[in-house]
């Protein structure tokens, strides 16, 4: 019985492997055709786009091969993430005002692959995780607090610190990885109420710091990831609902207390009442989404630069204009597939620690994609977070890929566990 199940799952894997090969070819086809089209837009052809057209498929194939050979990570997840990165580079090569932007983004992605490897290794090697909880918490709190001390206000928030040599980082981005890890460390092994207090207090402290920095997007993400991790770890629905309720109450209070939050809500409700000033961003985004129609204006044919922040907060609107609604919905579906796949990785994990890591990463990516896309299309008030793997922003790309690495790490642990089972079963059969 057990054997048949394992045989079936290995058959699934064979099927999946051929499917992932097809998937990878699709991604590579997208990369080559997109970049070639952009290269041909000018005569003589644009060298940077040609370089991308050649380098991206090599890098993608290489990374898939390397990561699955080294750690047996889930290929489908990895390839889907690579597709999102490709959409990012193609879009930026198309719309960014300066040719340096896609170049920088590619460099950040290379850094991101290192972070990803680090994430995989962390999950694979970390033992006795209870011991890591305190150092991780201390590091996260200290890191997220840094901008309060050294930072400067930037777009109405104080969430950046400037390092030497003109490099700026957003500690709250890296804090996301730390938060997922520390929650998994602190909440693994079905803790009792009392044991949850310290991890939750750390998460609350982080949220408080983000509120002080007015980084509402990150605050919302930290809060929801914490709720999800707590619920997954304890299955305690009443307390989770109370936590969510407290969050809603806090949100209502924030709207009352802070005029800038209230302003955002008003703009969201009726941007047309002040189309030239406060409503400008969202109206330009809606116009861009409307102009794309079903199939888009075509690469290089739209006017996405009319949207403010078109390569970070509003990149989804720019994608709608260039690629059209069908592609944009496809992009949303990619996130859905990543969520589904990530959930199945979490379900297959053998320890609660690994489950919590996987579910934390899935919730982070899902919620972040939801709130920024929802903000772009005026479904919910705009909160400035990045579209995972697509928007520009070094800290965001690197930390998101680091977090994704942790998810891949769980899939890798699962794969080794399954292989072990198979071996044990075969050994037992041979000796029977």
């Amino acid at each position: 019985m057990a054997k048949r199940q394992i045989k079936a799952s290995s058959l699934m894997q064979v099927l999946l492997r051929s499917n992932t090969r097809l998937l990878l070819s699709g991604v590579i086809a997208f990369q080559i055709s997109g970049m070639l089209l952009l290269a041909m837009k000018t005569s003589p052809p644009d060298w940077q786009a040609l370089l991308f057209a050649a380098a991206m498929p090599c890098a993608s194939a290489g990374i898939v091969r390397l990561f699955s050979a080294l750690w047996k990570v889930d290929r489908a997840l990895l390839i889907l993430m690579l597709f999102l990165c490709s959409v990012s580079l193609v879009t930026l090569e198309d719309i960014a005002r300066s040719a340096v932007t896609p170049w920088q983004q590619a460099t950040h992605m290379l850094g991101g692959f290192l972070a990803m490897a680090l994430g995989i290794l962390t999950v694979r090697k970390l033992r006795r995780y209870e011991k890591w909880f305190l150092p991780l918490s201390a590091a996260a709190v200290a890191g997220v607090a840094l901008p309060l001390v050294f930072g400067q206000w930037h777009y109405g928030a104080k969430n950046w610190i400037h390092l030497f040599g003109g490099v700026s980082v957003q500690p709250a981005e890296f804090g996301k990885c730390a938060l997922i890890l520390l929650l998994a460390c602190g909440l693994a092994n079905r803790p009792r109420m009392r044991q949850c207090v310290v991890p939750l207090a750390v998460a609350a402290a982080l949220c408080g710091l983000l509120l002080a920095e007015r980084d509402l997007g990150a605050l919302l993400l930290y809060f929801l990831v914490t709720c999800a991790a707590y619920f997954a770890a304890t299955g305690n629905l009443p307390v989770t609902l109370m936590g969510l309720g407290a969050g809603v109450a806090g949100g209502v209070l924030a709207v009352r207390m802070f005029p800038y939050v209230q302003k955002r809500i008003e703009v969201w409700q009726n941007p047309w009442s002040d189309p030239l000033d406060k409503g400008w961003q969202i109206i330009q985004a809606l116009i861009a989404i409307g102009s794309g129609g079903l199939f888009g204006m075509g690469l290089g044919l739209g006017y996405p630069r009319n949207i403010p922040l078109y390569n970070s907060d509003f990149i989804f609107a720019a994608i709608c204009e260039e690629f059209g609604l069908v592609f944009a919905v496809g992009l949303i579906l990619i996130y859905v597939i990543i969520i589904l796949r990530g959930i199945s990785v979490a379900m297959n994990a053998r320890t609660s620690f690994h489950m919590l890591i996987a579910v934390g990463v899935v919730v982070l990516i899902g919620v972040q994609a939801f709130i920024i896309i929802g903000g772009n299309v005026k479904m919910i008030p705009l909160t400035g977070v990045t579209l995972p793997f697509v928007s520009t922003g070094g800290s965001s790309i690197i930390s998101m890929m680091g977090a994704f690495g942790m998810l891949l790490g769980v899939s890798s642990v699962n794969a080794y566990d399954e292989a072990e089972d198979l071996k044990r079963l075969e050994w037992r059969e041979a000796n029977a």
Partner: protein
């Protein structure tokens, strides 16, 4: 472990539901609103289309040509400079400086962009020059030019004239104005400080002053039984909450009936009525008449008239009742309110487009429009007419009288500053009580003085000309 898996399953269901909602919302909102987004004046993409398409003509209701495209693709406006300036914000311009103008808001029609993918592809493949559709407006350009000439020299303001039985807009005057022809070849604006591009009828949000008493009166009639038999006593000023409300020019009106309080425009009496009503009932009547609504009309963009809701302090409530609170109104909306009184409480959706004619000269059938909402009950509207008729016959609005016709109306002198040396905004809203000449008007002259001496005579001349020109 099983427990964790169950929780994870619940979380994934939530996430998936959120994404399903997201996809549905994206599809729904693009399907329903994308044409509104596209044609908004803030869309630079239309400027691009204008280079490749021959834009259609714009004429007034009598067929007078207001804008056309000549052989060289140059946009030409009416040859009469005064007329072309009078209709400037209504017609719009090639630079989309007047964002609510027909040239911008109906650019999709004028440029013939149907938005369908097949059409777009066909146009791309054949590469032929595209001709847009022609638009015939409901406005009477010569009437508009006449009303524009009535404005006191150097004064700004707005006049909107509508047919309250059809909703058709006969005239929108907004001062200052600008010359659209001067914009055609110049990138710089023809109007230096930019205020001429604003269509004050649609976009000007003014303090209503005493014309708001029409709403307060309607709320009293609908909610305070026997209010018509009550008497008020005015000592020129009276304390309400933390402050006092005073009458215009510190006039001591003495003992007044409701009818007298309305026709003499007594602030103290109406402050008392507002306080007796409370902010909720007052706001409800105002919202029935279209306040705080986004006005999603298909022919034009009309900015909302806004009124504060919720528990107001007594002092603020008192001033709101006489139109001097934080309430803001757009002139076209005020004309619609006056028109609704004339039409037995029915408020029509404003119409600016009479006809759209495509290639081959066949007029396109336009759907939609019609009744926007019921603003007042039938009996309230009848009583309001009586009061407004009395205000013109005997009250502050006597200069709005037209011989041979019955005019009903209300004047207003809205204070815009605490500094008494700044002149008030002069208001008149009203309508002609006549089946064959169902015209309603709202006129505001900024810092013009009192409504009765400045806005009322202007409105009378405008309505008289509208009657004469349209049989």
């Amino acid at each position: 472990m099983r427990r964790i898996r169950g929780a994870i399953r619940a979380i994934s269901v939530l996430l998936l539901a959120a994404f399903a909602g997201l996809i549905l919302y994206v599809g729904y909102s693009v399907y329903t609103s994308s044409s509104r987004w596209l044609t908004s004046g803030y869309n630079a993409r239309l400027t691009h289309a204008k280079r490749t398409v021959r834009m259609g003509n714009i004429t007034d209701r009598n067929g007078l040509l207001l804008a056309t495209t000549d052989q060289d693709g140059m946009r030409m406006y009416s040859a009469d400079p005064a007329l072309r300036r009078a209709v400037s914000q209504t017609v719009g311009d090639t630079m989309s400086m007047s964002g609510t103008g027909v040239e911008t808001f109906h650019a999709q029609t004028l440029l013939g962009i149907s938005g369908s993918l097949i059409d777009r592809t066909w146009q791309y493949l054949t590469g032929k020059e595209y001709t847009g559709e022609d638009i015939r407006l409901t406005i009477d350009a010569e009437l508009t030019s006449y009303i524009s000439g009535l404005f006191p020299e150097g004064k700004n303001g707005a006049v909107a004239v509508i047919n309250y039985q059809t909703g058709e807009i006969l005239s929108m005057v907004s001062k200052p104005d600008y010359d659209p022809q001067a914009l055609v070849n110049r990138r710089e604006g023809a109007d230096e400080n930019g205020s001429g591009y604003l269509n004050r009828c649609l976009q000007g949000q003014y303090a209503p002053g005493s014309v708001f008493k029409v709403i307060t009166l309607a709320a009293a009639l609908e909610n305070l039984p026997n209010v018509q038999n009550e008497h008020f006593y005015c000592e020129a000023e009276q304390a309400f909450g933390d402050g006092t409300v005073s009458c215009y020019g510190h006039t001591k009106h003495g003992k007044l009936s409701l009818l007298q309080a309305f026709s003499e425009s007594c602030n103290v009496s109406f402050a008392e009525i507002a306080c007796a009503l409370g902010s909720d009932l007052l706001a409800k009547t105002a919202e029935d008449a279209g306040f705080n609504d986004n006005f999603r009309f298909q022919d034009l963009i009309l900015y909302e008239s806004s009124m504060e809701k919720g528990d107001l302090p007594l002092y603020d409530l008192a001033w709101t009742g006489v139109g001097q609170g934080t309430t803001l109104v757009t002139p076209l909306h005020m004309a619609m309110i006056a028109g609704a009184v004339g039409a037995g409480g029915i408020m029509r959706e404003p119409k600016l487009i009479l006809q759209v004619t495509g290639e081959g000269g066949i007029p396109r059938i336009r759907t939609g429009g019609g009744i926007y909402r019921r603003a007042f009950s039938d009996s309230t509207a009848r009583t309001l007419s009586d009061y407004m008729r009395y205000a013109v016959e005997r009250g502050t609005g006597t200069k709005a009288r037209i011989s041979g016709y019955t005019v009903c109306g209300k004047t207003g002198s809205a204070e815009i500053s605490n500094d008494k040396s700044v002149s008030t905004n002069a208001w008149f809203v009203g309508f002609v009580e006549d089946e064959r000449h169902p015209y309603a008007i709202a006129a505001v002259v900024e810092q013009g003085g009192t409504g009765g001496s400045v806005a009322a005579p202007l409105a009378a001349k405008a309505l008289k000309m509208a009657i004469e020109r349209n049989g």
